[in-house]
């Protein structure tokens, strides 16, 4: 589904990702772990198409047999890629309802489908709300405006549940969450799990992986994946810390 080969990414000429390769297949859940500043968020943003600050200098990303780097940000989303933001953006004056309805209808238009009727959209909203356990009054509010850290993250999962992406990349969605919010986020992610979809979870902590059990764990260090393994690798990292890896590299 997603195939990254020898990816190099720079910010202002400074290389952040230095030859990263990763294969993600349908039905798989991958966790990417690693210390701060190793390029995890950069990787997530580059897959979603952020090109104004990141420059891909080498390598390729193939998604569903298409060259992903040729697609605009919105076309990547319309092709089924979703990025859960580490720092969701506040957009005062735009209600979540309006935001999501615009998004869904643009995606449907891209796929040659009819626009959703108001009733159909509301039904989808209700389902997603129940899944994430958020209240109606939240969806009438402006996108992320005045939301707590936890509410913002829940709102990301709510959007994901509505958009039903094929490939979801969650950038530190667990950071700053209490255990109840973490469970809700995990529930949302697990409900998306299916043989057709894939999920990449970027996290600092093993904690999230107690609730979202990954098929593969990768350690990103200094712009490269330095170690890959099964879910037990996360436990090993938790026990030994990242210094253990540095000595191995």
């Amino acid at each position: 589904m997603l195939s990254i080969k020898n990816l190099h990414v720079a910010i202002n000429g400074k290389e952040i990702i230095k030859g990263l390769s990763l294969e993600v297949n349908q039905g798989e859940v991958h966790a990417i772990m690693g210390p701060n500043g190793t390029g995890k968020s950069t990787l997530a943003a580059v897959i979603a198409g952020r090109e104004d600050i990141f420059e891909v200098t080498e390598g390729e990303i193939i998604y569903k047999h298409k060259n992903l780097l040729d697609l605009s940000i919105e076309d990547r989303a319309r092709e089924g890629i979703f990025l859960g933001f580490q720092y969701p953006v506040e957009i005062p004056g735009v209600s979540i309802t309006n935001f999501m309805r615009t998004a869904i209808n643009e995606i449907r238009q891209y796929k040659g489908l009819d626009q959703l009727s108001g009733a159909e959209f509301l039904k989808k909203m209700d389902d997603a709300k129940k899944l994430v356990g958020i209240q109606s009054k939240l969806t009438n509010r402006s996108v992320n405006e005045g939301f707590s850290g936890g509410e913002k993250k829940k709102n990301e999962i709510f959007q994901m549940a509505l958009l039903q992406p094929e490939l979801a990349i969650l950038d530190e969605t667990d950071s700053g969450l209490d255990i109840d919010a973490l469970k809700i986020v995990a529930k949302g992610v697990n409900s998306l799990r299916s043989p057709e979809n894939a999920i990449v979870v970027i996290t600092h902590y093993q904690r999230l992986l107690d609730y979202i059990v990954p098929d593969f764990v990768h350690v990103l260090y200094e712009g490269k994946i330095v170690k890959s393994g099964g879910k037990e690798l996360a436990l090993e990292l938790e026990a030994k810390g990242y210094d253990w890896l540095k000595s191995e590299v």
């Binding site: 943003a45 979603a48 600050i53 989303a77 957009i91 005062p92 004056g93 309006n98 958009l163």
Partner: protein, 471 residues
């Protein structure tokens, strides 16, 4: 033989007109008001029209505007008893207001020139009020509109004979918002000067919507002064809606005078207009006053909008907050000058000022100048101005959900303006302005020949019509 005539300047023309038409100008005056006119006239003779050498006019050049040959009228050009309700109807769904109309600067009503509502509120023409309530007029008229502010203010004080007069007695909460509509509809280039006076009595509350609209593409120059006196513990919620044609020039001089414990919220919403200059003078003339001075402007083509705000903190413990936001497209220009004066005794003043702009093209211009002048030592003041493009992180966020560039841009521009729109406390008005801003951003209202309140909407067919026979 070839005769060359030197073109008479507008200044000289106005001086001549004043001298020749004194009988008409003075006809409704009290002796005090006539004296004030003479003083104002002398001030105008000295000052003339401002040019770009004057600091506050540096970025607004009126040379071309003042070159045009305008018609000037000292009396209404339509017959008395014109029923404006028949020719003009507001179509904001469910907006219930008490409508006060002016046509080409003259008060128009089918109910006579002055009326008293059951709650004691008096609404009428300024000229009628001068004859009926000379003490009130003597006490307030021309007391806040300072001739020294600009030649335009002096000229208006000298010339203007009509406008709207509103008096709210003490202890009255006016339930229905008052809506002042100034329609410009004339078949010649026209120079209009009207003067409005609003008095809000002690402990009273008023909501006032002022609409400036033109209904054709004729050139016009409007120099309007509105003096608003807000007495102790009274409050005014004020809106100014501007949707004028591209050939119009509006010099809008607002003077707000607040007494102790008074509250003011004023919001200038500029959707279209050739050249618009809003001057807002706010005098906080007692302790514990609160003033929110807001504005939003969306200009494109070669439009020019200039907001000037002067807040005078003369007493301690007052609060003022200025917030102006603008979206500037094509080769349009926006100017903002904010001046906060905190006088020596005005301790514990809180005064804030913000001006934020989004430029959509390389040719669009913004000149923003925040200015604080503080003589007290125990105050909290801040100012800030930003000029920029759309936030790229926010663009990325929206697009990463599948929303295309155009819609993402629209949503963000709308969100930018919404901060001001959300302060509109009259719900139906907010809905309509909200709708108009969306249309404006989509480019559907770009050239609007109709009043801000009468644009076509999806929900409701256009109901605005002018019956030319009635004018």
């Amino acid at each position: 033989m070839k005769v060359t005539t030197k073109k008479v300047s507008l200044k000289d023309k106005m001086i001549r007109l004043f001298t020749e038409n004194q009988a008409l100008v003075f006809q409704h005056d009290t002796p005090e008001i006539s004296d004030r006119r003479r003083i104002a006239f002398e001030e105008f003779k000295l000052a003339g029209f401002p040019d770009t050498r004057v600091e506050n006019w540096r970025n607004t050049d009126l040379t071309k505007v003042l070159e045009a040959d305008y018609n000037y009228y000292f009396q209404p050009t339509f017959s008395e008893g014109t029923d404006l309700k028949k020719i003009f109807r507001c179509d904001i769904p469910h907006l219930h207001t008490d409508m006060i109309s002016q046509l080409n600067g003259w008060f128009v009503s089918e109910n006579g020139s002055i009326k008293t509502n059951p709650d004691g509120v008096i609404i009428g023409s300024l000229s009628a009020a001068s004859e009926r309530f000379p003490e009130l007029i003597n006490r307030h008229l021309g007391k806040y509109a300072d001739n020294k502010k600009s030649g335009f203010v002096a000229l208006n004080n000298a010339f203007a004979t009509d406008g709207v007069f509103i008096y709210v007695p003490d202890n009255v909460q006016v339930k229905v918002p008052l809506q002042m509509v100034n329609i410009i509809n004339h078949d010649k280039d026209i120079f209009i000067q009207n003067h409005n006076l609003v008095i809000v009595g002690k402990n009273s509350e008023l909501r006032l919507v002022q609409c400036d609209d033109s209904v054709n593409q004729q050139r016009s120059l409007i120099n309007t002064v509105t003096e608003i006196f807000i007495d102790e513990n009274a409050s005014l919620d004020h809106y100014k809606l501007q949707n004028k044609n591209d050939a119009s020039t509006l010099i809008n001089n607002m003077f707000f005078h607040l007494e102790r414990d008074a509250k003011l919220s004023t919001n200038a919403i500029t959707l279209n207009g050739g050249l618009i200059r809003n001057e807002n003078y706010v005098r906080l003339n007692g302790e514990n006053c609160e003033a929110n001075i807001m504005g939003v402007y969306l200009v494109d083509k070669k439009q020019h909008v200039d907001n000037q705000v002067f807040v005078d903190h003369a007493f301690p413990n007052c609060y003022s907050n200025e917030m102006f936001k603008g979206i500037v497209d094509d080769s349009a220009r926006a100017v903002f000058n904010g001046h906060i004066l905190v006088r020596k005794d005005a301790q514990k003043t809180n005064a804030f000022q913000r001006n934020k702009n989004i430029l959509l093209t390389d040719k669009a211009t913004v000149n923003s100048k925040p200015f604080l002048e503080i003589y007290a030592d125990d105050v909290k003041c801040s100012h800030g101005a930003t000029v920029g493009q759309l936030d790229q992180t926010a663009m990325f966020y929206l697009r990463s959900r599948g929303i295309g560039i155009e819609n993402a841009r629209m949503l963000l521009l709308y969100a930018f303006a919404a901060e001001i729109i959300n302060h509109i406390k009259i719900e139906q008005l907010k809905t309509r302005i909200d709708d108009m801003i969306k249309k404006r951003l989509r480019g559907e209202l770009s050239i609007c020949e109709q009043c801000v309140l009468h644009c076509s909407t999806m929900e409701k067919p256009v109901e605005f019509e002018i019956d030319m026979d009635k004018i």
